[in-house]
């Protein structure tokens, strides 16, 4: 009996101990699991909206005078140009300075609470300082208002009269930090300025900053000019001129104001465009009723024929690294878009939609080709991937064509023509731009009518 009692007692103890152990193990595991439990949430939707940004007037002394006005006034104007640049991109919503609770200056840390109160998520502060050597030093800082931290800071030095370029550079720096892409504000546009009646249209080569300022005419209008294109590497422009009623491709130097004809050919040459390295110019040449694509090496002026088809091959444009060329050809019956290797081989058609396709231009970032499309009595500007997929129409109107890319491949500029009326009026041409997303379509203001725009690379990239 005793033995059995002891055995039973021990047995109970075992069971109890086992229970204790089991409970403790379960408790330990559950405690560990609960301690490490973290909620993980997928955020897959949002609202794409312009980022609210406050650009304060750059601080500066009103007493210090420069050749371009007082330092304080320049600081204010720089802020206005930066604000206009950012707003025009469509990606930022500049907060009205009248809503500012306080105007921080560059020397003190901003009062972020005040900027949060006006809805700003980004803040630009800065100062302009006149140096002893007469140069203007412009400092700016970009702040993350919600985090209360600095995102970017830069000091630029320039001659006081170059303050507009300084402003565009600040805009580029802000744009880059907040979008992750290179900016496009420190750039220029070359285009054809048009004036006069329909039958006697005067067309002049003109150049301006991307925001329309610093406008200059580069030809006097005595000869018709078309198809201006920027060199990606130098202060040069190619264009087509009807000098002596013969269309030829010319090379124009912006700095010297001199132009020279690119070779003497039989037939006519047109639709010139630089290669990405600036060493070659690719163009169309029409002879005996046939148009083919040729490339000229600028250093040697040697020419190589790339297409030999009996159809019309024109509007060539290089891919960003110069490996491929996109062009228009009617070899399939109607004008369509094609892509070939830079040596003329491996030709592939990429457009198969309804309508007529023309003026293909390869995006500087390589992912898309912009084109003009004509169908159903209307014109469209669209984009398509180099493999022919993902065709997307961005804008449409009575007549529009000639897309050109901003150097970051984000914005497309083109020109639009309005219909003529019965009284001989109408036919105005205007420059327009649109964001790659299809939003933010804006007119680019020019002193006279404007057509055939070409966007320069960033000026410092030359």
């Amino acid at each position: 009996m005793r033995k059995r009692e002891i055995i039973e007692t021990v047995g109970r103890l075992k069971v109890n101990l086992f229970k204790i152990l089991l409970v403790s193990v379960i408790g330990f595991v559950s405690a560990t699991v609960s301690a490490n439990a973290v909620i993980e949430i997928d955020i897959t939707r949002g609202n794409v909206q312009p980022l609210p940004i406050a650009v304060t007037p750059l601080a500066g002394s009103g007493a210090q005078m420069t050749t371009a006005g007082s330092v304080m006034e320049i600081g204010k104007q720089i802020s206005q140009v930066v604000t206009a640049d950012l707003e025009r991109s469509g990606l930022f919503n500049a907060i009205d300075p009248r809503a500012f609770i306080n105007s921080d200056n560059a020397t003190a840390a901003p009062q972020f609470a005040n900027w949060r109160a006006v809805g700003a998520q980004a803040l630009v502060t800065g100062a302009t300082i006149l140096r002893e050597d007469g140069q203007l030093r412009v400092e700016f800082r970009l702040w993350d208002v919600l985090a209360g931290s600095q995102m970017a800071g830069l000091a630029l030095t320039s001659a006081p009269q170059s303050w507009r370029r300084v402003a565009h550079k600040i805009s580029d720096a802000i744009y880059k930090r907040l979008t992750g892409e290179e900016g496009y504000f420190d750039t220029r546009i070359v285009y054809i300025s048009e004036s006069g009646p329909y039958l006697n249209r005067i067309k002049r080569l003109a150049i301006m900053d991307q925001d329309g300022y610093n406008h200059k005419f580069m030809t006097d209008g005595s000869f018709m000019v078309l198809n201006p294109r920027f060199s990606p590497t130098s202060q040069e422009i190619t264009y087509l001129s009807y000098y002596n009623d013969t269309p030829r491709v010319y090379l124009f130097n912006i700095n010297t104001g001199k132009s020279e004809m690119l070779g003497e050919f039989r037939g006519m040459t047109f639709a010139p465009r630089f290669s990405p390295d600036g060493k070659n110019v690719i163009m169309s040449k029409a002879e005996h009723g046939n148009t083919d694509i040729f490339v000229m090496e600028l250093a040697t002026r040697r020419i190589k024929q790339l297409t030999t088809n009996s159809a019309i091959d024109t509007s060539p444009s290089y891919s960003p690294f110069g490996r491929y060329i996109t062009f228009t050809s009617d070899r399939g019956g109607t004008p369509q878009l094609y892509v070939m290797d830079a040596d003329g081989g491996n030709i592939k058609r990429i457009s198969f939609g309804q309508g007529l396709y023309s003026t293909p231009v390869w995006s500087p970032r390589g992912d898309l080709i912009a084109f003009t499309k004509q169908t159903g009595g209307k014109f469209y500007i669209g984009v398509i991937r180099p493999d022919g997929s993902g065709e997307r129409i961005l804008t449409e109107s009575y007549f529009e064509e000639g897309p050109t890319w901003s150097p970051n491949g984000r914005v497309i500029m083109y020109y639009r023509k309005y219909p003529y009326d019965n009284r001989g009026g109408g036919g105005e041409t205007q420059l327009w731009s649109i964001d790659l997303t299809g939003y933010n379509e804006r007119q680019v203001l020019t002193p006279l009518d404007g057509s055939d725009p070409a966007w320069s690379p960033l000026l410092d990239r030359r």
Binding site: A35, V38, E40, T44, R45, G46, D144, E181, R410
Partner: protein
């Protein structure tokens, strides 16, 4: 036999010691984990202090404001708070009765089980009547234990389901707020749709940010990826405080740290 008893006694003593040692070991593990938690908590204080001291003296003034606004929001939105509040206590209260009715249904079962089990033990106990007497007591205890265990299991199942539901509702509430009110993803950039960012959000019990949100691998990021991370961090900050969501305080352990995976692939091609 005595030797056998002694040997078994020694073995059992050894078993007890080992068991005690094991428990001690577990304790030490738990202690070590407990050590980690304060280490995590300490930086909160330090960082919030640095935030307060360094750059955000005024945000402190702002922080007290949200609690003032909260009662207003509670007043404005009486239905949701009761729901949220009730959803916390009610599951426990409401589901306990839901569980309780079941036991009565199952109560009749245990007797059946007991009846069924009774015939079995007797077959064993028939061999030894004394043992039968001895076993009767533990058998009754076993039944109650089993009942208690069954009750416990049901409650555990109910609470785990409850936790799951509440965790889902917490996730949905945070997701909805950030998606609808705060996230402004960068668009138009090359491969913008593939810019996925993981952000760690740390909340205080009252729904404020315990410390700044952290984007995974932020230090190594640049260009468009960094911009995407900035937009995610901005969204987390903009949506703070999260006190309006009435996150259940009893489940604070669940939402004290939240991982947010920002993925724009569905909205930006």
């Amino acid at each position: 036999m005595r030797n056998a008893l002694i040997i078994s006694g020694i073995f059992h003593a050894a078993f007890l010691i080992i068991a005690a040692m094991d428990i001690a070991l577990f304790d030490s593990v738990e202690d070590s984990e407990m050590v980690v938690i304060p280490v995590e908590i300490l930086p909160f204080d330090e960082e919030t202090k640095t935030m307060e001291i360094a750059k955000l003296p005024e945000p402190q003034k702002e922080k007290p404001e949200p609690p003032k606004k909260l009662p207003e929001r509670q007043a404005e939105l009486p239905p949701p708070p009761p729901k949220m509040q009730s959803s916390m206590p009610l599951p426990e209260e409401a589901k306990k009765p839901a569980v309780k009715p079941k036991p009565p249904e199952k109560k009749p079962e245990p007797p059946q089980v007991a009846q069924r089990s009774k015939p079995k033990p007797p077959s064993r106990y028939d061999a030894d009547r004394i043992a039968q007497l001895l076993n009767k007591v533990p058998e009754q205890e076993n039944i109650t234990d089993r009942l208690a265990e069954k009750f416990g299991q049901q409650e555990q199942k109910a609470t785990s389901l409850d936790v799951q539901r509440q965790t889902m509702s917490i996730s949905a509430a945070i997701q909805k707020k950030i998606e609808e009110q705060c996230w402004n993803p960068p668009s138009g950039a090359l491969d913008a749709g593939s810019l996925r960012v993981k952000v760690y959000m740390y909340l205080t019990l009252d729904g404020n940010l315990a410390r700044p949100p952290v984007a995974d691998d932020y230090v190594r990021m640049s260009g468009a990826m960094k911009v995407a991370a900035d937009s995610a961090l901005r969204a987390v900050r903009m949506c703070a405080p999260y006190s309006d969501l009435k996150l259940p305080k009893t489940m604070y352990d669940q939402w004290r740290e939240v991982i947010l995976n920002f993925d724009p692939s569905g909205m930006i091609s």
